[in-house]
């Protein structure tokens, strides 16, 4: 297991939201998704994994170590749902600045930036961030996420604002990394078509709780599509809760 979370709780008294994750695991080389409606706790859970938010209780381990230790997070890259860069930097300058945080040799860095620019069809490395469209900014953010050769990539709504061509380019790159380096991916999304053909494990989250986890093959045995699986659980749960 490269990621384990057990009995994790976090309460936000002001918004009356309570997150409770009893048991959550990610295998090496897996492509997992956390699915759920807006406000269900997807981003909150990811932030707890990365120690950006502090859990009230529970235990999170990354690569076997306590997630609070920076050494445990050293092989993890994260793309938050909402991010901000220095607007007056160009994309290339931004990537170089972030490379300072996970040092690399200049030759390797240049090679990696070129590799990502080619893979993501980015021809605006010299454009300032403030002049980019939403989709371009999102692609630039994905570039900084994949800049380091990490083993686990945690992507929070990674396809926000991307068109079908960009999505495909990024998915192709992720699959290539999985083939070459056996990386693990954990993504959150509320758009089912984003993960319909890609994920091998799905976790459904509602009101701060994982209500179901299943592998793709388990889903395929019972349902026609991921959408059916999702609707089945959420419509059933909604009818129960109402």
């Amino acid at each position: 297991m490269i990621l384990e979370a057990q009995n994790v709780t976090k309460t936000f008294p002001k918004s009356n939201f309570h997150l409770q994750i009893d048991d959550f695991k990610i295998d090496e080389g897996s492509f997992s998704a956390i699915l759920g409606p807006n406000g269900s706790g997807k981003s909150t859970f990811l932030k707890i994994i990365l120690d950006l938010l502090f859990a009230d209780e529970g235990r999170v381990t990354l690569f076997g170590g306590n997630h609070k230790k920076k050494e445990s997070r050293a092989r993890v890259s994260y793309l938050p749902e909402n991010f901000a860069f220095q607007d007056n930097f160009t994309v290339a300058q931004m990537l170089h600045a972030f490379a300072d945080l996970k040092p690399s040799t200049p030759d390797r860095l240049k090679h990696k930036i070129n590799e990502l620019a080619n893979a993501f069809n980015v021809d605006y490395l010299d454009k300032k961030i403030k002049n980019l469209s939403k989709g371009m900014k999102q692609t630039a953010a994905l570039m900084q996420t994949f800049l380091a050769d990490d083993r686990l990539y945690i992507l929070d709504e990674p396809f926000n604002g991307l068109d079908a061509v960009q999505k495909k380019a990024i998915m192709d790159y992720i699959f290539r990394l999985q083939d070459e380096r056996n990386i693990s991916i954990l993504i959150t999304t509320h758009i089912l078509s984003d993960i319909d053909k890609t994920c091998d494990t799905l976790h459904l989250i509602k009101n701060g709780r994982i209500i179901n986890s299943a592998t793709k093959s388990e889903i395929q045995q019972e349902f026609d599509s991921v959408e059916d699986y999702y609707l089945n659980h959420f419509q059933t749960n909604q009818s129960v809760s109402t």
């Binding site: 990365l50 950006l52 938010l53 997070r73 994260y78 938050p80 909402n82 901000a84 945690i154």
Partner: protein
């Protein structure tokens, strides 16, 4: 993380005004002025037309202006870095909160030393060319203590930023609160002015004086060096200045360790 912060600081256009002011001063003296040594002092005169102005007067005015620029420009990167949208990216690069905070202070210290070095260098060039003198103690004093003066303001601004996430609040309160430090070094006169004689009040204010970074103390030390060289530094004042930076610095540090993004 220090390199990351330095990249941002050196691209901050507001802060470019700092060396620009010294450049304008240098060009002004080269074009219209002259330099002459000040007798029995480590300082010098700037001569414009028939007027001889002690450099301390000019430098004090420039320091006030540069301080204002620094206090406006320096906290802006910390303000951006601790926004959840930026902090979540930065802290996910396997950086601890401790590294994040200390790297920020480190980068600001390196930056202020670098810009002070440029400023002193520009001033040094014009003094050597025009006056054929090199008041080493004056320049060394400025190089060592001007960054410390700026750091006294920055420490207060950083605390307010961490507490409130408000850049404007940090700039304003940082400037005002640190400015209060002058009261503590003129305590006798202030207490007399308000007619306060209570020993308890005196002790309480004395204790309070250790809680606010003493910018006034640094300025006094700089004046002591400009007038009498390093030998004239009041050691107890120097220790007081260094101690006074610790409480707010430590409070900021511990608050930052508990901050969620």
């Amino acid at each position: 993380m220090i390199r990351y912060n330095l990249r941002i600081l050196f691209r901050n256009k507001v802060l470019w005004a700092w060396p620009a002011i010294f450049l304008i001063l240098m060009l002004g003296i080269f074009t219209w002025g002259d330099i002459s040594p000040e007798p029995n002092s480590y300082s010098f005169f700037i001569m414009v037309g028939d007027a001889s102005i002690p450099v301390n007067l000019v430098i004090n005015q420039i320091i006030s202006l540069v301080l204002l620029i620094a206090i406006i420009g320096l906290p802006s990167h910390l303000s951006e870095n601790i926004e959840p949208e930026s902090a979540s990216l930065l802290l996910s690069k396997s950086i601890s909160r401790s590294d994040f905070f200390l790297a920020d202070l480190g980068a600001v210290a390196i930056f202020t030393f670098a810009y002070t070095f440029i400023s002193v260098l520009l001033l040094g060039i014009v003094v050597v060319f025009k006056g054929a003198i090199f008041p080493f103690q004056f320049f060394a004093g400025m190089f060592l203590f001007f960054p410390l003066l700026i750091m006294t303001y920055y420490v207060t601004a950083a605390l307010i930023l961490i507490l409130t996430n408000s850049y404007l609040g940090a700039v304003f309160l940082g400037y005002v609160l640190t400015g209060f430090s002058s009261i503590f070094l003129n305590l006798k006169q202030v207490l007399q002015f308000f007619g306060i004689q209570s020993k308890l009040t005196r002790v309480a204010i004395n204790l309070l004086s250790y809680l606010i970074p003493s910018a006034e103390g640094v300025q006094r030390i700089m004046s002591q060096i400009f007038n009498g060289g390093f030998a004239a530094i009041d050691g107890s004042l120097l220790i007081f200045v260094l101690i006074s930076c610790l409480p707010l610095g430590l409070v900021s540090y511990f608050l930052f360790l508990k901050k969620e993004f």
